[in-house]
């Protein structure tokens, strides 16, 4: 039987192979260590490239937001409290620090730590009040995910806000922080919220500097707050 012969040959040859391996042990251990390094690097790299899916992270978040908005209990409470509750949910996946940084642009670096914190708080409050009207507008519109684009640590998740007879394209621009995708811009029908405010702020910054911007933000917030309390 040729098979058995072959087997004999292999078993007979084993000691030889064994010895030759022993002789080359220094080389083989070197090769093994290289292999180990290679495998380790490869594994960590594939772990990095296997980044979490932005759509899969955004989906439960938007579900939570729409559920919060659809909550019948929300209708009864005052507007200001309502907006506070919604922004609390929104904070989970929106990075207001990153938004503030981008909306200020290159001048962000010139601001002191205290000023940066102050601006972040004001800008967050502005968005909270500016979108409070939208809370009451919500009447069961559904979110459809159309496509996503990932480029390194940035991602754009495109969605459609489907209403009765029209659908509005809304994109979320996100940044990877650790293993979490955090949104820093919303693009509605091609208009980016951050870039729109950025152009307005840059004119204010050019004319009146940072103190002028803070003053205008405070005035705007007070104005919106008055409207909220009135209704």
């Amino acid at each position: 039987m040729p098979q058995k012969n072959n087997l004999d040959k292999v078993t007979g040859a084993l000691p030889d192979v064994w010895w030759s391996m022993q002789r080359k042990s220094s080389i083989s251990s070197f090769l093994v260590s290289i292999l180990t390094v290679f495998v380790t690097v490869f594994c960590t790299q594939s772990a990095v490239s296997a980044t979490p899916d932005p759509t899969e992270q955004l989906r439960p978040f938007l579900k939570k937001v729409t559920e919060t908005l659809a909550d019948p209990g929300l209708k009864a409470i005052p507007k200001q409290e309502k907006s506070r509750r919604v922004i609390g949910v929104v904070r989970e996946r929106f990075d207001f620090r990153e938004m503030s940084k981008r909306v200020i642009g290159q001048q962000w670096r010139n601001l002191s730590e205290k000023e940066q914190g102050e601006f972040e708080a004001l800008f967050t409050q502005l968005l909270q009040y500016a979108y409070v009207g939208k809370i009451d507008d919500y009447s069961g519109q559904q979110v459809q995910f159309t496509q996503q684009r990932v480029k390194g640590e940035r991602a754009e998740v495109q969605t459609l806000l489907v209403d009765k007879d029209k659908s509005i394209p809304v994109s979320y621009i996100m940044l990877l922080r650790g293993d979490q995708w955090m949104a820093y811009d919303v693009v509605v029908e091609g208009v980016s919220l951050i870039r729109n405010y950025m152009e307005q702020f840059s004119e204010i910054l050019r004319k009146d500097g940072y103190p002028g911007l803070v003053k205008q933000l405070e005035e705007k917030i007070a104005e919106l707050e008055k409207d909220i309390k009135k209704t």
Binding site: G105, G133, I173, D185, R195, N196, E199, Q200, S202, D227
Partner: protein
Amino acid sequence: MRQKSYCLRPAGLIIGVAVTVFWWISLAQAVDFLSDESYEKPVADIAVADPIEPFNRAVFTVNDKFYLWVLEPVATGYSKVLPADIRDCIGNFFYNLGEPVRSVNCLLQGRFRDAGLTLGRFAINSICGVFGLADAAGHEFHLAPVYASFGETLSVWGVGDGFYLVVPLLGSSTLRDFSGTVVDGVAMATYSPWNDDALTTATAQGARTVNRTSLHLGEYVEIKSMSFDSYVAFRNGYYQMRSKQFDHSDAAKK
């Protein structure tokens, strides 16, 4: 030999200029939200010069008052008379009338697929959609509407924006895009059902505007209340919206 090199020089120059222009056009049209540069220099890449800002601001104020005092009250009353789905149908009807012009613009831009699609939409909606009252092409045939205008055609041909222009009653535009709007309007007037006299055309346009406004009530005031300088906010919004309309890449499609 010497003469030849002289001949070549302008050709090289033209090619160089053309390449630069195309590079600029591609730069101006592709706004990549995923690149940091689009945030660091937000104004330069999509904005157009606004040398007649004082004039534009004056027209903006007049338009603002016209909207708040005339258009919105009329549209609000109109919206109470007609239910939203009928107003949608009227909007569809006007949009459908523009499809042939859109199709020709697609052809002029070399977008042959879109030209066919737009013409197909026009045929389907005019027949199955009862004179375009329903968007059967969009809903049943999944042929989504595509954007095309003569302003865009001019941009594809390399014509620059000129400058930002706020047109009375019409709002944000640029010199080039407003010229395009006029050309599109004249082209549409050749076959629209109300080309008999100026009064009928004006009435039709007015009806269209009131109908459109009635479907977007409250949006203008809301954007205004959110903004610090509403003139700048609307100018920026116009640029951003337009760069999306002019972008027909796969990434931009929904």
